[in-house]
């Protein structure tokens, strides 16, 4: 075993103790509807083993089980089954919430930001904006869902889960969900068949007609196209840009139609990229997906899965609002790499140097350990 492996193993046994300590007093915050008809799965600290196909008769039984096991991650199926504990083929799928996964890691990368303890809050803010876009532009406006059909969860880790609980959407099969996610991500859109391609714009328009109209306007106005096209194409646009922008607002642009089909298509592709919703395509089309249980801890952050009010998403600070572990006493850690200042629970910590030994609050220690930045030195506080 390498030195790194030993350090990881030591962290795991300390964190497991902390989780067990937490669940022994907080298991009542674990919430799950229709417990008896869902499948449950748990990732254990020991050996990173996944236990699946579990079922429970009541929420109390589930809470007791989690408190006893103190798993690293805890999941329930989005699906409701006739026999939740049977093997996959015999479960008898009844229906499942429509689930969207917004991954902060992936979205921040598009903005050139790498997910690190120092950038965590910034990445989560970007993910929250993407979540708001998904809900307001697609789920409410295009699909006509009501706010009461939608629940947003902070995943405890690096993103948000949006659950749609609406009878008609819950019975959708895999192919239908695939269509929903293709719609949101603009996948398979036939740009040449749209009225925008023919020069008709509708800035206030609904759905992708409005989205493409506004997208093209933004691509042209911001000059975003300059770095993406060949010089000749850029010149052709530059010559006409002001006129096209004026005409778009009137609903028809003859000047736009002077551009070559190839150029128009390129601009429309940029508009799609700009306007699309960025959700994980695999998660939404999987009708038997496991997703995190509200009130359980995320093994890599120590933060808990909680429901977030849509109106509060914009200012949501997970390190404060999803804080689960006690902030005192502190725990001694050894830093394994240099890190800059980290905002956590309304305080700023660090910077720290590699090799430095410090006492810091338990939640921060677990959080940093998920990024493999620290080794936890159990100072006897948990004995």
């Amino acid at each position: 075993m390498s030195k790194e492996d030993i350090e990881k193993r030591d962290n795991i046994s300390v964190i497991k103790k902390i989780f067990k300590w937490y669940y022994s007093t907080h298991s009542s915050s674990i919430i799950c509807e229709n417990v008896e008809r869902r499948e449950f799965g748990f990732m254990l600290f020991d050996g990173n083993v996944m236990v699946r196909h579990k079922s429970f008769k009541s929420i109390l039984e589930l809470r007791r089980f989690i408190a006893e096991l103190a798993p690293k991650h805890a999941y329930h199926s989005i699906a409701i089954y006739e026999k939740p504990d049977a093997p996959m083929e015999e479960k008898g799928w009844v229906c499942a919430e429509l689930l969207f996964d917004i991954d902060a890691d992936h979205i921040a990368k598009k903005y050139g930001i790498a997910m690190r303890p120092e950038t965590y809050l910034q990445c989560m803010t970007i993910a929250a904006e993407e979540t708001i876009k998904l809900i307001e532009e697609f789920l409410l406006t295009d699909f006509g869902l009501a706010p009461r059909d939608i629940a947003v969860l902070f995943s405890g880790g690096r993103g948000f889960h949006v659950h749609v609980k609406n009878k008609e959407f819950e019975y959708m099969d895999r192919a239908m969900r695939q269509e929903i996610v293709d719609y949101i991500t603009g996948n398979g859109i036939n740009l040449k068949a749209t009225m925008i391609f023919e020069g008709y714009f509708l800035m206030e328009g609904h759905g992708w007609i409005g989205r493409l109209s506004r997208g093209v306007y933004e691509v042209l106005e911001s000059g975003y196209f300059r770095s993406k096209l060949r010089k000749q194409q850029v010149n052709a646009i530059d010559k006409r840009c002001r006129r096209i922008l004026e005409e778009i607002l009137t609903g028809f642009s003859g000047t736009w139609n002077e551009l070559s089909d190839k150029t128009k298509k390129k601009i429309l592709e940029m508009a799609v990229e700009l306007m699309r919703g960025d959700v994980d395509r695999v998660v939404t089309s999987d009708i038997s997906r496991l997703t995190r249980i509200v009130g359980t801890l995320h093994g890599k952050t120590g933060l808990k899965v909680i429901k977030v009010d849509i109106s509060k998403l914009e200012s949501f600070d997970p390190t404060k609002e999803a804080l689960a572990l006690p902030t005192s006493p502190q725990i001694t850690v050894k830093f394994l790499s240099d890190i800059g200042s980290v905002s956590f629970n309304d305080d700023i910590y660090g910077p720290y140097r590699e090799g430095q030994i410090k006492s810091i609050p338990i939640p921060l220690a677990v959080f940093l350990s998920g990024f493999e930045c620290v080794k936890l030195l159990n100072g006897g506080i948990l004995e």
């Binding site: 006509g144 099969d173 192919a175 269509e179 929903i180 859109i189 759905g207 992708w208």
Partner: protein
């Protein structure tokens, strides 16, 4: 408003009652004659213009559970209705759409290409339930106008959706036309089940070498992934193995293909392959999933060449035959 359409297809508007109310008026002997005529003339091969003939044909095939004949007839009938409804008023089209598809369907004017255009609006989940069976990219939700929970389509597209839904409703008996229980159909049953049997005879596979170049795109993809040792899901393995077995490949040959998979376990794989072949367990021989199921599993790769294909074996057979002809 044309009344002929209502007269000709009363079950579109009144469902089960349409047939029941006519039957009440017919003496039993006449009804028996009509029924024997329908069966002896194989009325399901051509859709008649007589409303009673149409309803009785559906009723007989539904009562005798003649699934294959029923689905052939349903395809023909819905196509015919589709082409005739083209000439009907918006009100009639809307009426039928509400009865057959969803009673929330409505007409609304929206601004398109600078002009007010009258379109039909259908709830999103309802639209998806039907359109997922259409392969053309134009039916994808992302290429539709979606506003506030509704998909907006033109008249022609709505009629296409009606056709599809109607076909499905007849086959799955959501539109159910009933004959009185006391009418005995045992003679007809014998004749019809004989005809049905000719459909169920196994498709014969051409002997000789398996032509991978004639595979449908989905199977070609699965095979090449298996050969490259990339992972396949459970359903992907099931689909590929049953497909290869249907082409006459041996257990050992299929096993060898799977041996490249990252989590290959010789004992488990052999057991599962033997299971699919019906050599262990319940003895059921599994056949490869249809295109509909492959779509549901997310395995389908919509190819242009797939057009009217409903089963991967059908694709393969057609392709092999075509290549054979071209060679000659």
């Amino acid at each position: 408003m044309s009344t002929t359409f209502h007269y000709k297809y009363p079950f579109l508007f009144y469902g089960e009652r349409a047939l029941a109310s006519i039957i009440e008026e017919i003496p039993l002997d006449n009804l028996r004659n009509l029924i024997s005529n329908i069966v002896s003339r194989k009325a399901w091969d051509r859709v008649s213009d007589d409303p009673l003939n149409i309803m009785l044909t559906v009723a007989i095939l539904q009562r005798l559970q003649a699934k294959r004949l029923l689905s052939r007839y349903a395809v023909r009938l819905s196509k015919k209705i589709g082409s005739e409804i083209q000439r009907e008023s918006t009100e009639t089209v809307l009426n039928v759409a509400r009865k057959i598809i969803d009673n929330r369907i409505n007409v609304e004017d929206i601004q398109l290409r600078g002009v007010k255009t009258s379109l039909f609006k259908i709830p999103v989940p309802t639209y998806l339930r039907i359109s997922q069976y259409f392969k053309s990219i134009k039916w994808k939700l992302v290429n539709q106008i979606v506003i506030n929970g509704y998909v907006y389509v033109g008249r022609r597209d709505l009629i296409r959706l009606i056709e599809e839904m109607l076909k499905d409703a007849i086959i799955n008996e959501r539109i159910r036309l009933k004959l009185p229980d006391h009418i005995d159909l045992s003679d007809e049953y014998r004749r019809i089940s004989q005809i049905e049997r000719t459909f169920t005879e196994k498709i014969k596979m051409p002997k000789g070498k398996i032509r991978v170049d004639a595979f449908p795109p989905c199977m070609r993809e699965l095979l090449s992934r298996a050969r490259e040792g990339r992972n396949l899901s459970h359903t992907e393995r099931f689909s590929l193995a049953t497909f290869l077995f249907s082409l006459g490949m041996s257990i050992d040959d299929v096993n060898e293909i799977f041996s490249n998979l990252p989590d290959y376990d010789a004992r488990k794989t052999m057991y599962q392959l033997r299971h699919l072949k019906g050599l262990v367990g319940s003895g059921t021989k599994y056949s490869p999933p249809s295109c509909k199921k492959l779509r549901f599993y997310g395995i389908c790769i919509r190819g242009e060449e797939c057009k009217d294909i409903t089963h991967p074996l059908q694709y393969y057979l057609r392709n092999v035959k075509r290549r054979h002809r071209e060679k000659r």
